[in-house]
């Protein structure tokens, strides 16, 4: 097992990894930018090094600086968290070439599943349904038009290297398709340095269902059931839950087994998430693999009792899986609300500022993962997530009641947060009856 791990991230996920390591008897090295200097969560690490100025491109995204900090800090492994370098296959490869284990999949598997086109091909090879679309990248507008007419409008234009909703456009007809192609290409090129696009059928009223998997270096893959992340705004998740409500048990099993098949075929190891969309008839389609730990992982931890960060570390150290599929028996219902420093009444604009009061909620089955404290400055440099509130109860109705109670207990003053929006969602009859799709928030709270 590793003696010392560097965490190449910041905020709540850095703190989450420090906590797991502390419980495992592993020392930690933190890296931070000048904007995060003095944040209390850094004191939970055994050592901390400033690696650059506030701008992420000059600090958290600088591979050489992160590696250099790992070397002077004597770390044996690097946990990338999510975002920043977490899904950068080059970074994973460089870590290992410097004798630092990267806590995640191999760089080959990461590159393979990170290319959505290649991932779709693998899915089709192992009989996992994919959304009808172009066979590979689109070469030009003429080909796009032909594909769109074959699969039928509406169609979705997507970036091969995309993520987080960037480089994605919906087109309802031939005319809109031309504009969508140009916009998506420019956006993808700016965001990812690659303008490659593909086309697929736009599934109406979709729900977003994803499967957590764990895979060891010895060929064993298990799933930890599903999370429903349908509550999104512009492809940014806001509220996640498990189990997925109103999902037929046969569909649930089929989705989870599909995820395992796909991950096995890709030679993928460590923790990962396979994303699907499910239409209102229970038809499901593979979307993509997220080759990292996800923000919403605590939802799965709540219902399965498996600590996913510790699992990642043990798997990276080469341990064979210690859990059998039949031992993963989810209990009850869990919900997570992302507490972002955003003003929902002003188009979800980031709301930076100094937290001058915070009271975290408590009580049975309540977890609040947050790195902020009184005096903490929420800057404009990074994402606006300031905490994750997770509740776990025997049933979904009880979880909703517990979440509403916990959100009312949570007091944050100094910045605007998504708490009021979450309360509205939890009080909405459509959410309570789980009659929802991924456009629910945008339709119900147009900004």
């Amino acid at each position: 097992m590793f003696k010392r791990i560097l965490v190449a991230n910041r905020g709540e996920i850095a703190l989450r990894v420090f906590r797991a390591c502390r419980e495992m008897g592993i020392e930690t090295v933190a890296v931070f930018s000048e904007a995060d200097r003095g944040s209390a969560y850094l004191e939970m690490a055994d050592e901390a090094y400033c690696i650059g100025p506030a701008k992420a491109a000059d600090s958290y995204l600088k591979i050489d600086r992160v590696i250099s900090a790992a070397e002077i800090g004597n770390a044996q492994a690097i946990h990338p968290g999510y975002g920043f370098l977490a899904e950068n296959a080059d970074f994973a490869e460089i870590c290992r070439s410097c004798n630092l284990e990267f806590i995640g999949p191999t760089h080959e598997a990461m590159a393979l599943v990170g290319d959505k086109n290649a991932a779709r091909r693998i899915a089709r090879d192992v009989g996992v349904p994919t959304v009808p679309g172009s066979d590979g990248l689109i070469r030009d507008a003429k080909e796009a038009l032909a594909v769109a007419r074959r699969i039928g409008y509406p169609v979705l234009v997507k970036a091969a290297a995309g993520g987080g909703g960037r480089g994605m456009r919906v087109a309802l007809d031939d005319e809109a398709l031309g504009a969508a192609l140009k916009q998506a290409e420019a956006e993808a090129d700016a965001a990812f340095g690659r303008g490659d696009l593909y086309l697929e059928k736009y599934v109406e009223h979709p729900r977003h269902v994803e499967v957590q998997i764990l895979a060891d270096n010895h060929g064993t893959v298990i799933h930890l059931w599903e999370r429903d992340c349908t509550m999104q705004r512009r492809h940014q998740k806001l509220l996640e839950e498990s189990p997925a409500p109103r999902l037929d048990d046969s569909v649930r099993r089929a989705v989870c087994e599909s995820a395992v098949r796909l991950v096995k075929a890709a030679g993928y190891t460590n923790a990962g998430t396979v994303e699907f969309i499910v239409d209102r008839h229970g038809k499901y389609f593979f979307i993509e693999v997220n080759a990292r730990i996800q923000v919403e992982h605590p939802v799965t931890e709540a219902v399965t009792g498996v600590d996913l960060i510790k699992a990642q570390i043990r798997l990276a150290a080469g341990e064979p899986l210690w859990l059998r599929q039949e031992e993963i028996r989810p209990q009850g219902a869990a919900i997570e609300c992302r507490i972002n420093a955003e003003d929902a009444s002003k188009g979800f604009r980031p709301s930076p500022g100094i937290i001058h009061r915070i009271i975290p909620p408590g009580g049975p089955g309540v977890r609040f993962d947050s790195h902020v404290h009184v005096g903490y400055t929420v800057t404009q440099y990074y994402d606006s997530l300031i905490g994750k509130l997770i509740v776990h109860q025997p049933t979904r109705d009880e979880a909703i009641a517990s979440m509403k109670r916990s959100l009312r207990e949570l007091r944050i003053e100094g910045v605007k947060t998504t708490v009021p929006l979450h309360l509205e969602i939890l009080n909405h009859p459509a959410f309570c009856e789980a009659r929802i799709d991924t456009t629910f928030i945008e339709r119900s709270w147009p900004s």
């Binding site: 933190a30 890296v31 000048e34 200097r37 003095g38 944040s39 209390a40 850094l42 004191e43 939970m44 690490a45 055994d46 050592e47 901390a48 090094y49 400033c50 690696i51 650059g52 100025p53 600090s59 050489d64 600086r65 590696i67 250099s68 900090a69 070397e71 002077i72 800090g73 410097c98 404290h373 009184v374 005096g375």
Partner: protein, 167 residues
């Protein structure tokens, strides 16, 4: 991490430094914070400077605790912030790595206390990922102290030398 345990304490030195940085960054005249019975008030000396902007970071704002009203428990002593005189400039590490004062173990140090340096003068090496980066002074003056020992880790922005820039 080796730091004061109570970072939420407004009297935490790093927090005060951060406040001073924030003041300089945003050209604030005064910051006044209270926590329980303790209070810290930081004020910049005099009127806002006219003419050329003050040198960043280590320019010298006036820092000190305001008198604390009925005081049980007594406020802990506030560590004096590092106030540098105008003519002292710090040479800071541009990267995280390992500090070496000499090109190799058998050679003398690039610079020693008392030496004069120019902007191009190499003052040390910072090794990062097996690359030995020669660090220029980027300032003219006389070295008055070396702040890091041979082979010690340095982080981004960490002061390595103090240089007196007076002619």
């Amino acid at each position: 991490m080796s730091g004061p345990p109570s970072s939420q304490d407004v009297f935490d030195l790093r927090r005060i430094r951060r406040l001073v940085e924030l003041m300089n960054e945003h050209e604030l005249g005064e910051i006044d914070l209270r926590q329980g019975e303790m209070r810290v008030r930081i004020r910049r000396g005099g009127e806002a400077p006219a003419g050329p902007p003050a040198r960043p970071a280590h320019a010298s704002p006036a820092v000190g605790p305001a008198p604390v009203a009925p005081a049980p428990p007594p406020a802990p002593p506030v560590p004096a912030p590092i106030v540098e005189e105008e003519h002292i400039v710090l040479i800071k590490s541009p990267m995280v790595g390992t500090f070496y004062p000499a090109p190799d173990p058998d050679s003398p140090a690039y610079v020693q206390v008392g030496d004069h340096v120019g902007p191009e003068t190499v003052v040390c090496i910072v090794e990062a990922m097996k690359v030995f980066n020669q660090i220029p002074a980027e300032v003219s003056g006389r070295v008055v102290s070396v702040l890091v020992g041979n082979g010690e880790p340095v982080e981004y922005g960490q002061p390595m030398f103090k240089v007196d820039t007076r002619k």
